[in-house]
Symmetry: C2
């Protein structure tokens, strides 16, 4: 297995990226890690000589404020672009980056390319079910497609179910449609059009509409929505959790427990909360629906987040999820073509 | 001033409704409170004889699972319907209910009616800015209009700004457009069309796009979005906060501090967090854009929430906000009619 790594993307690149790669490479010598980036800078972080790490020099990088489509088209020697091309050409099996999200989506679509039959790949983070250790759920799409057609959301449900089954090992994953009420008649025009598509697809374990207030409690394994709503929901979770942790700190300190007990409590409680909320331990967000896995870690990723995302990629590539998705969409496409003749 | 109160709406009706009314009535004898509902049940809760409370008997009620439009049309003697009619006929200045949200929206639109020039009133909760005491912000729309045109969201910005100015006493309230990025070019098709409308309206203090992760930190006084996204964001805030408080409790207890210190800390910290998060202290959600104020309290409201919502109504009615909005839209309408000639 070979993983193409954009060593220059992210706030802590290349340091955090290289460190995460070192950890993953030492753990699994069967995987080759290709570090794309400024040779000098990357090698300065590569403190050890490890057989299954190679460095491929690139002279440019996609900046975080670059206009995505333009940058991907023009910066032909950017680390992200060259790494994506390696995947396209079969020199690598998957792409990892913590860089410019828009750029990465563009590179995925224009360079790696979609699975035939999939109109729009979706961006899909793996989130923790709070209060149930080791249980995760998928929210999709969180921003790759601000405007969606009903068919796109139907495909997100198929994609998410495949991921949940093959990579999270959930048998018959439940699918919920994020909506403004649980009744079947609820929704805006888009969701009202999506509902019957999900209901009629017997390959899905569709359990109906779900509300945003229930998603962290594990109401469904796969929650589908358009990229605009999903983006707002994900950012609201992050914002509310962050604000509450800050408020909690203020409140605990205001109890006058600022001595040893207070400090200990603060440390332990925070650690518990943060660990539960920290979804980077489950890897990055997958741009799913491409011919090869593309995993995007948060821009602020540290070496541990990078490591987890790389382990996630290993799991995805080891499974036959992409191969089976290709077959599924080929068959579906063929069936619907035959039906229309 | 006269306030029409739907005494039968809400999980704790009529008990909690009547108790909230008693508290508000005692505090301000200048306001008449009209309790619409089952005479016998309402009077059983009315433990004191208070001059400025009157009971108007109604024989029906809108149930929480009633189909809104049908119920409002058919149950002509429902407490909510009769109370709304009293407002329409000028017998009362405003409507309060903790009942069926859909029913209330329907009653507002069909019975009380819109301000001329306003296409779609919006549902608007007043939320706390976390970490800044006594500062609130408005999120609009949170569910009255699942599908919105650009013009609707533009009008929410005007409505919200008026409310922030007249009722929350914020001078030149800032308006933010909830979007999937802060750059001016961001958004789905709808938000890209809304942006220039807000930018070109010099009566607004529009400060650009805002992201969902920043709204609880007070990034804007008035945050506008379509009713589907707003609903998802509000429910995500509620769900994340609720889940975190539960997790926090588990974590604090897991520290072994279950003795006196643990219990005290838990109690105080929780109280602080809950008070900060409890937006019912700022009143209910206003369906704003109608000819008279309509305030919807949460179905689970207790007497204190009812009391706060009634005080909110007093503030709205005491201000000239509705009158001035009517004038604004009459003038704007006239101007645009003249411009089109």
């Amino acid at each position: 297995m070979k993983i193409a790594v954009d060593a220059m993307g992210g706030d802590n690149a290349p340091q955090a990226i290289v460190e995460g790669v070192i950890q993953a490479a030492k753990e699994n010598s069967q995987v080759q890690f290709q570090l794309y980036g400024d040779q000098e800078k990357v090698k300065a972080c590569l403190t050890e000589d490890i057989d299954n790490i190679v460095v491929i020099h690139t002279s440019e990088k996609i900046e975080s404020d670059d206009e995505p489509v333009k940058a991907i088209r023009q910066k032909k020697d950017a680390s992200m672009v060259v790494a994506a091309k390696a995947v396209k050409e079969g020199k690598a099996d998957a792409l990892f980056s913590a860089g410019n999200t828009g750029g990465l989506l563009t590179a995925g679509l224009l360079i790696i390319g979609r699975i035939k039959g999939i109109d729009r790949p979706g961006l899909m983070p793996i989130l923790p079910v709070i209060g149930q250790e080791n249980r995760q759920f998928i929210l999709m799409d969180v921003g790759a497609n601000a405007d969606c057609k009903p068919k796109n959301i139907h495909q997100f449900a198929i994609l998410g179910s495949y991921y949940a089954k093959y990579v999270l090992h959930i048998d018959q994953p439940t699918v919920g449609l994020l909506n403004n009420g649980t009744e079947a008649t609820k929704g805006n025009e888009l969701m009202k059009a999506v509902y019957p598509l999900l209901e009629e697809d017997t390959s899905l374990n569709f359990t109906g509409n779900v509300e945003a207030r229930d998603i962290l409690n594990g109401v469904s394994d796969v929650i589908v929505t358009d990229g605009f709503t999903g983006n707002a929901v994900l950012k609201t979770i992050e914002g509310t959790a962050g604000t509450l942790l800050k408020l909690l700190k203020t409140n605990i300190l205001a109890q006058g427990l600022s001595g040893k007990i207070g400090a200990l409590l603060l440390k332990n409680t925070f650690k518990g909360l943060r660990n539960t909320l920290d979804y980077s331990q489950f890897g990055g967000a997958v741009l799913f629906g491409l011919k090869a896995p593309l995993v995007k870690a948060h821009g602020s990723s540290d070496k541990t987040s990078v490591y987890h995302a790389l382990k996630q990629i290993e799991t995805i590539v080891s499974s036959s999820v992409i191969k089976d998705l290709v077959t599924y969409f080929e068959t579906t496409e063929q069936n619907s073509n035959e039906a229309s003749h």
